[in-house]
């Protein structure tokens, strides 16, 4: 089990039960579990959705879409069954928060799923874990079985009549190992047993989703936050964060810091403080060179750009994104060309291949950067890399192309000098201390 970290600045809401053995249902109940779901059952769907809207809880997957709003898009009446879908395909490099939730607090996910189901009138929820999290499936399934045993799942949940009362079922599923399946419609395809390729939108999942039924799909952290929002009240939760960014967030801090780990901090927490105080500063007293603020697909920030509050709106102002809140800290002994190569290699490997700009673009970026880093680049290559990335941006079938193009563009623009240093068959200036940021 990974070591848990903590810091006095943390505001523990979602991570409240981490390390307390809450994966066991009895312990979860001792810690106040399933009260929120019961309350929601009594209050009804409109109340739940209003609470969610008031909480300013924004999607934790990366796009930051307000969760309450998303739920309200689901039509009240539907000929086809409605579904709740938990996106546990946590694949964004630099992000490892959902992993801890599944490990330490699986019942929060179950309870959140039930609440979402009650809000939209679904009878079935799916919890989809990424293929590489297969080892967490056992924990999750044990928790689901426990919830069934206690009557929180099944027909007639929370003591309602088994025939006429409320029904809610949960089915767990794992992917086969594809980053692309983190995209909501690709995840649905995968869950339906098809190739994990995104769907044409519109229609959006709230109208036509899983198996053609209206579907709410939320990130696992979002869902795990829901019971806490209900428990503490929407206003209190919203107040924990910054303007229009309710509550707290699990920040996965990795890279060249003294104390990497997952910290729960209020939305809007200062990034500089996060690196130098919460995470203990750059490892070994080295100089800070660059920061990836929200997972590998977000454009890199320079040290002078990090005196900002970490919420969706403030990070957007820098031209980057809060994304999945995976903060990657890079010190001055890292080669940014190699870092760019490492990033694009990931996207080249994970591109589903459906559309031309993404499939071919990621591949050519990888090929060019590989050659470039090996010292065989030309001045024209730098422009070409930028040209390819610019032509992927906004042109691909799904946001994957942007996710690959945006960081690449930022690397070239912000570290052009380092690219130029690789020209004329010069060896990589950092070759002696190749110590890649671990992402």
């Amino acid at each position: 089990m990974p070591r848990l970290v903590s810091h006095p600045d943390e505001v523990k809401i979602v991570s409240r039960r981490f390390g307390l053995g809450a994966a066991k249902i009895d312990r979860y109940l001792e810690l106040g579990g399933y009260k929120a779901a019961k309350k929601c059952l009594e209050q009804g769907p409109d109340w739940i959705i209003n609470e969610m809207k008031a909480s300013n809880l924004r999607g934790r997957g990366g796009a930051g879409f307000p969760a309450g709003m998303k739920w309200s898009f689901v039509p009240k009446k539907s000929a086809k069954p409605k579904y709740v879908l938990v996106n546990g395909d946590e694949s964004e490099p630099g992000t490892c928060k959902d992993h801890l939730i599944f490990l330490h607090d699986p019942h929060a996910v179950i309870e959140g799923t039930i609440i979402a189901g009650l809000a939209i009138g679904a009878k079935v929820g799916f919890i989809y874990l990424r293929g590489e999290y297969r080892y967490l499936l056992e924990i999750m399934e044990k928790a689901v079985a426990g919830a069934y045993a206690k009557g929180f799942l099944g027909k007639g949940i929370f003591g309602t009549d088994p025939k006429t009362g409320t029904e809610f079922q949960i089915i767990t599923h794992t992917g086969a190992g594809a980053y692309e399946v983190g995209e909501e419609s690709a995840l649905m395809e995968s869950l339906e047993g098809k190739r994990g390729i995104p769907r044409i939108k519109p229609p959006f999942p709230a109208v036509v989703g899983l198996y053609g039924g209206p579907t709410v799909i939320n990130n696992a952290e979002t869902i795990a936050t829901v019971p806490h929002v209900i428990e503490m009240g929407a206003a209190a939760y919203a107040a924990a964060g910054s303007a229009r960014n309710g509550g707290t967030r699990l920040f996965s801090i990795s890279g060249h810091v003294e104390r990497p780990g997952v910290y729960e901090l209020p939305m809007g927490y200062n990034l500089k403080k996060m690196i130098y105080e919460v995470a203990g500063g750059v490892r070994g007293g080295r100089k800070l060179k660059a920061i990836v603020p929200g997972g590998s697909s977000t454009p890199v920030l320079l040290p002078e750009e990090i005196d900002i509050g970490m919420d969706f709106d403030q990070v957007a102002k820098t031209g980057s994104m809060l994304g999945s809140a995976g903060v990657v800290v890079i010190d001055d002994q890292t080669c940014m060309v190699e870092f760019a190569l490492r990033t694009i290699s990931f996207y080249q490997h994970e591109s589903c291949g459906w559309c031309i700009p993404c499939r071919e673009g990621t591949d050519w970026l990888k090929k060019s950067l590989t050659r470039f880093h090996a010292g065989f680049g030309t001045a024209k290559d730098i422009d070409n890399i930028q040209h390819i990335a610019e032509n992927m941006l906004g042109r691909t079938f799904c946001p994957f192309g942007d996710a690959a193009a945006m960081p690449t563009l930022a690397f070239v623009k912000k570290f052009r000098k380092e690219f130029e240093d690789h020209l004329n068959r010069k060896a990589c200036p950092f070759a002696k201390h190749v110590e890649l940021a671990v992402i």
Partner: protein, 781 residues
């Protein structure tokens, strides 16, 4: 859907709400490029070539997934859009081999066209291209992976269009590759549609690859000679030393009744034309009893003198004539006219693949009761009784599938066996082995042998219905089924029929009176009506095909003229029966029947002559001469020359020329050269006389139109290459000779067989063997 108005490139367009922008634009003449979009197949939005700018939308939008709504404003060409398309092509060309000079698709390649238009003239990439060896997936289909741009058209065409699902994507990302599902060989119907829809040269045809460049071919649109669906097929023809060679068959402009579609036979089976077994010289049996090559003059004179002698000594009734299921309407008409007026016999028949005469009798007096292939593609409900169209009528099957898929048509299937089309059926009725005869009574509610009433109720609930049936119904049974349909109501157009036969002009053979008791248009010989103008028309019905062989066996058949038929093999006639009969055969090959003949004339195939053919649904189309073969002659010309050699004034047979203009006997123009046909539209439009030759089949088309009921054709459309309708059933047939079931001899063709003709196609043989192997392998698995 209501029409909406929107603006594209400053032009106001109108289209039904919900129309795809790309379709609306193409209809208005605004071309939006696309690799993955293919009309009728599911949407992909994968190639990103069709990106357009929509007002108030931040990103470029794909025209193939954008539906039009009132007041939208679009821009389809701008520097921004051109740059997006250029960069997409740049990316594709990054690994696409530039082997255009040797690629089959060169000149017909959509990637080439787009590169030309958007000008990704130089490569940005220093990296080497990744070469992969090409793969052979079947005798018909080759795959060249580096050329593939992953538009997924082939996968969708195979799955959605053909319902075969033999292709899929393997791997992901840049390693994505199109591959046969389960194995490295295609286990499919070998239709070649995947090759056809491939926008580049990734999928190439086993028979065409590396043979020619598209611009070195003449592209001639004609009609397929195989099954009775009558697909329009474009033959790619190249000049060679002894005439011209057909190197490719496809439906190049996607027009005609088959639109996109062509099956394995239509696409690959044309190579029978080049078979080394083709006859190219007349054969005459010598004194030693052996067939030996002879000159046309000698063979014609010999055959004519024998025919004349037998007619004059034993009477015309002692001569039998057997016609073909693949010769043109004009040839069939001429053959029966020749038989009846020159040979003085009504003993004319053909190998009947279905009982068209019974349908004509059943529909007598009822107009517009047959369904065209186009009707079947759009009808809201279809009842298919018997047969297996997937194998026997691939285009019918395609139309049914497409209609169900795109228009949500309801298909009802009644069959004794499970057939593949049941996957598209709304309901299927499994009949007992002899169950077909009970269907009319079952549908009428007076049968209790078939228990499934839900099927009947569903069929009866349909407001309009097309009933498709085939050789399972003959004689009285056809009339019972049709009678049920005519009675059913509720309105005059509510039930229409399609009757399935076997070969390219089976219907035409019956329509043109290759029958002992019926003249063209199913006019009884006992009441010839307008045909009274035939000089010396015998008044009584002649012998049927089995009766001819019976008479021959008794030594009562003096002569037998067989045109394009092989009754010895297809009906299993005892060859010894013909030993006292003078037999003349016109054929492409030395068939079992031709081998018994005294004179064999080498005939041109349907691809080497012009004329009209009628498919089994009554769609008449123009077959155009595509290829040439030294030594052979069209059956039309052979008949005219034979009549001429018998001393007949050929003008009484073929009313050629205007007011007695002397013909040049077709040496400078006419059917052999095909020139008259090609100019026919223009000449007719200018009120000029196109027919100066007795060998020009169009010369009898006038007479067919004048005399044959149902054959008043829409000529402009016919000559323009479209299908036009003919309907039987204007003449009340009273004196129909009992069409015994025994007279109908269906060919039971499969995907790769077609009567005698199919045996001479090496490509079809190879495909048949490939499929047998695949079947054996999957059975072993």
């Amino acid at each position: 859907m209501a029409d909406v108005t929107f603006i594209v490139d400053g032009k106001k367009l109108t289209a039904p709400a919900g129309t795809l922008l790309i379709d609306a634009c193409r209809k208005a003449g605004i071309e939006i490029p696309a690799f993955c979009y293919y009309p009728g197949l599911s949407l992909q939005a994968a190639c990103r070539m069709c990106v357009v700018r929509q007002e108030k939308v931040p990103k470029l939008q794909t025209a193939c997934t954008t539906t039009v709504a009132e007041g939208q404003v679009f821009i389809t060409e701008s520097p921004e859009i051109a740059q997006a398309r250029k960069s997409t092509i740049e990316l594709l060309l990054g690994n696409h081999p530039l082997d255009c000079p040797v690629c089959d698709a060169g000149g017909e390649c959509e990637l080439q066209d787009m590169t030309f238009k958007y000008g990704a003239g130089e490569s940005l990439y220093a990296e080497a291209k990744e070469h992969r060896e090409e793969q052979q997936w079947s005798p018909a289909v080759y795959f060249d992976r580096p050329r593939c741009i992953l538009c997924y058209r082939c996968i969708r065409m195979c799955g959605e269009g053909m319902d075969v699902w033999a292709l899929g994507v393997q791997n992901r990302g840049v390693s994505s590759v199109i591959a046969p599902n389960g194995g490295d060989q295609l286990d499919c119907e070998q239709c070649g549609m995947c090759i056809d829809v491939c926008p580049v040269g990734a999928l190439t045809s086993g028979s065409y690859r590396y043979k020619t460049r598209p611009w070195e071919m003449n592209h001639v649109s004609t009609v397929c000679t195989f099954c009775a669906d009558g697909c329009k097929v474009t033959l790619g023809v190249r000049q060679v030393n002894d005439g011209s060679e057909i190197v490719r068959a496809d439906n190049r402009d996607k027009s005609g009744i088959n639109g996109d579609f062509l099956c394995a036979k239509g696409r690959f089976g044309f190579d029978f034309v080049e078979s080394p077994e083709r006859l190219t010289k007349p054969l005459v049996r010598n004194s030693q009893g052996k067939l030996e090559p002879a000159t046309w003059e000698h063979a014609l004179r010999f055959a004519a003198s024998k025919l004349k002698e037998i007619r004059d000594s034993k009477g015309g009734a002692s001569i039998g004539v057997i016609g073909s299921n693949r010769t043109t309407n004009e040839e069939n008409y001429l053959l029966q006219k020749f038989a009846r007026t020159v040979l003085q016999t009504n003993s004319i028949d053909h190998v009947r693949s279905t009982d068209y005469a019974a349908l004509a009798r059943a529909l007598a007096g009822h107009n517009c009761k047959t369904a065209s292939l186009r009707d079947i593609a759009t009808a809201p409900a279809i009842l298919l009784i018997g047969g297996n169209p997937t194998e026997e009528h691939p285009l019918l099957a395609w139309n049914l599938r497409t209609n169900v898929r795109l228009n949500r048509a309801r298909l009802y299937i009644a069959n004794t066996k499970p057939i593949k089309l049941e996957r598209q059926a709304k309901a299927a009725l499994r009949l007992p082995a002899d169950g077909y005869q009970a269907i009319p009574a079952y549908l009428g509610g007076s049968d209790d042998t078939i228990k499934d009433t839900a099927f009947r109720e569903a069929v009866l609930a349909e407001e309009s219905l097309v009933v498709v049936f085939g050789q399972e119904y003959r004689g009285q049974a056809v009339e019972s089924l049709v009678a049920w349909g005519l009675k059913r109501g509720p309105n005059s157009g509510s039930v229409r029929f399609a009757f399935l036969g076997d070969h390219a002009n089976s219907r035409g053979a019956a329509d043109m009176g290759l029958l002992p008791d019926l003249l063209p248009g199913y006019v009884p010989v006992t009441a010839p009506g307008a045909f009274q103008e035939y000089p010396g028309l015998p008044a009584t019905p002649g012998k049927t095909l089995p009766e001819m062989f019976e008479a021959a066996g008794k030594g009562e058949l003096g002569a037998l003229l067989v045109v394009g038929a092989n009754p010895v093999a297809s009906l299993g006639v005892d060859p010894a029966a013909l030993k006292n009969t003078f037999v003349i055969v016109q054929d492409l090959f030395l068939t079992e029947t031709a081998a018994l003949a005294d004179v064999v004339f080498p005939a041109a195939s349907l691809y080497e002559k012009s004329g009209t053919v009628t498919n089994t649904y009554g769609d008449v189309q123009l077959a155009k001469k595509a290829a040439d073969r030294a030594g052979v002659k069209p059956d039309f010309e052979i008949l005219v020359r034979l009549a001429g050699a018998m001393g007949v004034d050929v003008k009484t047979l073929v009313p050629f020329g205007k007011d007695g203009v002397t013909a040049d006997l077709g040496q400078s123009r006419g059917a052999q050269a095909g020139e008259a046909d090609r100019h026919a539209v223009w000449l007719a439009a200018n009120n000029l006389e196109p027919r100066l030759s007795p060998f020009d089949p169009l010369a009898v088309l006038d007479e067919i139109e004048r005399l044959v009921p149902g054959y008043t054709l829409d000529r402009i459309n016919l000559f323009g290459g479209n299908d036009v309708r003919t309907e039987p059933g204007f003449v009340p047939i009273t004196a129909l000779k009992e069409a015994a079931s025994a007279l109908v001899a269906p060919a039971h063709d499969g995907l790769f067989t077609s009567g005698t003709l199919g045996r001479y196609s090496p490509a079809l043989k190879e495909l048949e063997q490939h499929q047998a192997r695949e079947l054996a392998e999957s059975a072993a698995d």
